[in-house]
């Protein structure tokens, strides 16, 4: 590309003035007139048969228009909620309908809906419902769930086992045979609750004569919601419009078609009224899907010089009560364990389990944080067992630059990168050798200092249509429509659906740079299925590399057409015309130029166009990338653990990320900061805990601890840039990298700090109480 001025500039997000002055428009801010409010009555039982629901008293309550039970709505669904392949085509799963009819399987599952003049009236009426349950024994623990004799959630499946699959490459027997060191370790990924700052919300408006449905939803995937509402409710897809207005965060929790979207639409169709449902935080904690919830049993074969030969592991994935839309996506970890390392063999087994808990699905990173966590813990376990420094272990095992593009044991092709570069940079930033000396000194003084490394490799840019169809069941691509108006202003419609990331700014930068248009002349539109063709929405750090490329290619197409028009206007040969900074001129005479605005004007006057050329300046691109993109980086956490209280204090946090070309470094940094915070949340604070009775014990933000700014250290961030060869901009992805890297960095540091106590691995979160017990109670004695 030509010399960049706008691509790569740290321009402030154009979304922010509205958002930070409270003038944005979220679902709850939509015009309020004529609304009917829906309240979803949810199961208070983790596992029970519904014997009956008496709705008479609720129907008579003030302000109530209707009450529907699951039984009364069941015949309206023409399809259950969607379930995608998501890396496990072998899985068994039951049909999952938006509302329970005769049996409930998790606390929070919808059992009835109340429609009333106000939300308050609906909630009051809900208390008057008489629901009779016959309790069934709850299945909470994953391992007990698949033990013989366990109560079964879905009778038709015969057991709680959704799948038991193998994903392997290389000769694992040989790896273990050749090993000097063999390690086995159980490693847990606790259940996490995504807690987007804006809970979900839906407004549905069905127009009976047109058989047309408009739904505003706080979703990451308006285009998919459109398709599925059409399928489930039997409305032609052309008659369904879904709008994602401002959306206050998702982190994967808004990546699926939810029961409430269907229920609100259905209620609107039944009542002929506009129906609104807003999720409150209490609902959000149990009705919106959870993440992670895995147990890993890991065995490692290594040489005493730190070379990791092979890894064998079983991933137990707690799917919760039903298989969610991308419920098995986290099994992607079985394909990615290898990370940036050159293992000889990988032998993975995946086991999916149903339990009486909220379904799990994608949560920031979705399978990649898990893969990174496991392999990064493995690197440290090998370092601990062999006495080789953790940085050296990583260096020894890194894939080398000259081996790129490297094909992994699972047949994935890495795109580019010298993985040692980010590690070297991070080590330099913390003065690693010096730091290790200080650690040794402090240990002598009885202080528990730990240094944790995490050198991750991430896959993103979903993605190649063929590959994603095979793996995820849907072919992904990028989409952008660039449309120049008569006056030379531009509208850019993108296929991604940002929900806090700030796509509008960098995507406008791409167009401004390519066409030489002023940044403010480009309006970026997203999240409305009535505008533009099908888009693939936003998840998995895909938008910049895939939709961003579509934006770029559309701009290039517009530029090329503009050049042709300019040649005609300038009465010159096309190849003699230079297009630069929004102007076209004949080579050598830049003073006699036509501007893009003049060219656009001509584009709408057919007589001024070359013969045979169609009018207008608008171009649509569907970009199907040839491969995924593979960002990588190195994070280092330095922690000190208070011997007396067990509290972890992060003293330094250094992150060096390589996400290819940075379209807007300010946004890249923001994504890294937020991601690190979220990953630290998993390491130190967050825990979705269920009691043996199947009740969620951390159902409020008093008990479920998301980190806040005052609980976090300063982040020292640096970037390296290895452009991806997969797309013309060279961009990779940065939406999840922070989360993927930081959990392992912090937990490796905590484990390092506690290694004198003989500690090898710590279940997350590393709470003060847990660490104190490890240091002083559970036989933990200093070597």
């Amino acid at each position: 590309m030509a010399i960049s001025t706008l691509i790569g500039a740290s321009i402030k997000r154009r979304e922010d003035p509205e958002l930070i002055t409270g003038t944005g428009g979220f679902v709850d801010d939509l015009p309020q007139t004529g609304l009917v409010h829906m309240y979803v009555v949810r199961s208070t039982e983790p596992h029970a048969r519904i014997l009956g629901i008496d709705t008479a008293r609720a129907r008579q309550a003030d302000g109530v228009l209707a009450v529907f039970t699951g039984k009364e709505l069941a015949s309206e669904f023409q399809s259950p909620l969607p379930v995608t392949v998501s890396f496990v085509p072998e899985k068994k799963y039951p049909p999952h309908y938006p509302i329970a009819t005769d049996r409930v399987r998790y606390v929070g599952e919808p059992v009835a809906i109340v429609l009333a003049q106000s939300r308050a009236a609906a909630e009051d009426a809900a208390e008057r419902l008489d629901i009779r349950y016959e309790s069934l024994p709850p299945v909470v623990d994953m391992e007990k769930a698949i033990a013989p004799g366990a109560p079964v959630l879905h009778d038709e499946l015969g057991s709680n086992l959704a799948y038991d699959v193998k994903r392997a490459g290389g000769d694992i027997e040989a790896a273990f045979r050749d090993a000097d060191v063999r390690i086995s370790q159980r490693i847990r990924q606790q259940r996490l609750i995504p807690v987007a700052v804006e809970p979900r919300g839906v407004v549905a408006d069905y127009k009976p004569f047109a058989n047309a449905l408009t739904v505003w939803s706080s979703t990451q995937i308006p285009h998919f919601v459109k398709v599925w509402l059409a399928v489930i409710l039997g409305i032609p897809e052309s008659q369904v419009r879904v709008v994602a207005p401002d959306v206050g965060g998702g982190f994967g929790s808004k990546i699926r078609v939810y029961p409430e979207e269907v229920l609100a639409a259905l209620a609107s169709r039944k009542l002929g009224r506009r129906v609104k449902w807003i999720e409150d935080r209490s609902e959000n904690m149990k009705a919106t899907h959870h993440g992670r919830a895995q147990i890993w049993d890991v065995e490692v074969a290594a040489r005493k010089d730190g070379t990791v030969l092979g890894v064998r592991a079983t991933q137990y994935l707690d799917l919760g009560a039903y298989c969610s839309q991308f419920g098995t996506f986290q099994a992607i970890a079985l394909l990615l364990i290898q990370g940036p390392y050159k293992l000889q063999a990988w032998d993975g087994r995946g086991i999916g389990v149903y339990t009486n808990k909220t379904p799990t699905d994608a949560y920031r990173g979705a399978g990649r944080p898990e893969a990174t966590y496991i392999i990064e813990r493995v690197m440290d376990l090998v370092a601990q067992a062999t006495g080789v420094d953790p940085a050296a272990v990583r260096r020894k095992n890194f894939i080398r630059q000259e081996e790129q593009p490297f094909t992994s044991l699972m047949g994935l092709t890495y795109d580019s990168g010298d993985y040692s570069t980010t590690l070297d940079k991070a080590l330099e930033m913390v003065s690693y050798q010096q730091l290790r000396k200080e650690q040794a000194e402090k240990r002598k003084q009885g202080k528990h200092v730990g240094i944790g490394l995490s050198t991750y490799l991430e896959i993103c840019g979903l993605g190649p249509s063929v590959a994603t169809t095979a793996a995820a069941g849907i072919g992904f691509w990028g989409m952008a429509v660039l449309n120049l108006h008569f006056t030379g202003k531009a509208t850019l419609v993108i296929g991604s659906s940002p929900h806090g990331q700030g796509h509008e700014t960098p995507f406008a930068q791409i167009v401004a740079e390519t066409l030489g248009l002023p940044l403010e002349d480009i309006d970026v539109v997203h999240g409305d299925t009535a505008i533009g063709p099908m888009g693939m929405d936003t998840y998995g750090s895909r938008s910049a590399s895939v939709d961003g490329t579509a934006v770029y290619l559309s701009a290039v197409k517009v530029r090329e057409k503009a050049r042709k028009i300019a040649a005609h206007l300038l009465e010159a040969a096309e190849e003699d015309v230079v297009y630069e900074n929004g102007k076209a001129y004949v080579k050598g005479s830049p003073t006699k130029a036509v501007t893009i605005q003049e060219i656009t004007g001509a584009a709408f006057q057919p007589h001024r166009l070359p013969a045979g050329m169609e009018g207008g300046l608008d171009e649509t691109t569907f970009f199907n990338p040839p491969n995924f993109v593979w960002p990588f980086g190195a994070h280092i956490a330095v922690v000190e653990i208070d011997d007396e209280t067990g509290r972890v204090q992060i003293q330094r946090y250094v992150a060096v990320d390589d996400c290819g070309t940075r379209l807007n470094p300010l946004i890249v940094d923001g994504q890294i900061h937020g991601g690190i915070a979220q990953g630290i949340g998993q390491a130190l604070f967050e825990d979705g805990v269920y009691g043996e009775d199947g009740q969620l014990k951390t159902g409020t933000l008093v008990d479920y601890l998301i980190p806040t700014a005052s609980d976090l250290p300063m982040f020292e961030t640096e970037s390296l840039v290895t452009p991806s060869p997969t797309n013309p901009l060279g961009v990779k992805g940065i939406g999840e990298a922070g989360t993927i890297a930081s959990t392992a960095a912090v937990m490796n540091a905590v484990a390092d700090a506690l290694s004198p106590f003989g500690v090898k691995d710590i279940d997350m979160p590393a709470s003060p109480q847990k660490l104190w017990h490890l240091m002083h109670k559970n036989g933990g004695s200093k070597r």
Binding site: A120, D124, R281, S282, T645, P707, P768, Q769, W772
Partner: protein, 286 residues
């Protein structure tokens, strides 16, 4: 998360509030800063049918020195206490505790009277007020009465206030010159409730503890005094060894709760650590 329906009145004076409470009886609730009551109502754990808002009553928001006391109007906010020069100078324990309650919104809305009346065993003020031997001015249908702190915190979320009474003023004895105080709160995140907290106020003269007060938060169903520690220190030398030994007694006679963040064992241990650290802080340089 919408409260059950209720009627509401904003009163202008204390007698008016007392009259409204008398009229509506057990079904009514006073509303001050609302930062305990409203969350409970939204979860429908509290469903008063009548809410009497005293937030606009004049002359209940003050901090002043009276004869031998510092007096706080019941509506004084946590924020005002945190930043009051008088409190910082005379009762640094209270300023320190106030600065660690919740987050800025909570500190701007929550009141000392509300926090005391709410009698949460993991609340920060109740422990401080017990530790400081505060007294509580209460007005009811039969006029005014004064309750001592040792009688005020009766049980978990239960104070000695009757449903028809309004707490109007809280008075804390002004300590001798040179008294120091601190509140050490241990929680997972900065804005959280205490897993355990220790309130300490000490007057050290000639390297001896002349006066010593220590209180414990979240170590039982009510705020507690660490009497064994106080006894072990009163009149004793303010040296590291004495402090360490005394602090070991911090959990004596307590019955700490079990929850996700702390086992009783862990809480007992934290109480001794925080007590020692608080005492070290108060005696540093003396």
């Amino acid at each position: 998360m919408i409260p059950a329906s209720f009627d509401y009145i904003a009163v202008k004076t204390v007698p008016e509030a007392v009259a409204e409470l008398a009229k509506h009886g057990d079904e009514s609730k006073l509303l001050a800063g609302g930062h305990s009551l409203i969350p409970l109502m939204k979860l429908r754990l509290s469903t008063p049918s009548f809410v009497v808002d005293i937030g606009r009553v004049k002359d209940l928001n003050y901090i002043r020195r009276t004869d031998g006391h510092i007096a706080f109007g019941a509506l004084t906010t946590h924020h005002d206490i945190e930043f009051s020069d008088l409190v910082k100078e005379q009762l640094p324990l209270l300023a320190s505790a106030a600065s660690q309650i919740g987050d800025p919104q909570v500190r701007n809305r929550g009141t000392m009277g509300g926090a005391a009346a709410h009698a949460d065993p993991s609340g920060d003020y109740p422990t401080c007020l017990l530790t400081l031997d505060a007294e509580f001015d209460v007005v009811g249908p039969n006029g005014r009465r004064v309750i001592k702190a040792s009688d005020f915190f009766v049980g978990t979320f239960t104070s000695a206030l009757q449903p028809d009474e309004v707490l109007t003023e809280i008075r804390v004895p002004a300590p001798p010159a040179g008294t120091r105080g601190t509140y050490l709160k241990f929680s997972r995140r900065s804005q959280d409730w205490a897993i355990v907290a220790v309130a300490a106020q000490a007057t050290v003269k000639d390297r001896k503890f002349q006066e010593i007060r220590i209180g414990l938060t979240s170590m039982g169903g009510t705020p507690l005094r660490a009497s064994a520690v106080e006894a072990a220190l009163r009149g004793k030398s303010a040296d590291a060894d004495t402090i360490r030994k005394a602090a070991e007694k911090a959990a004596e006679g307590t019955d700490p709760p079990q929850d996700l963040n702390g086992s009783p064992d862990y809480r007992r241990h934290l109480a001794t650590v925080l007590t020692r650290r608080a005492l070290e802080q108060l005696t540093a340089g003396r």
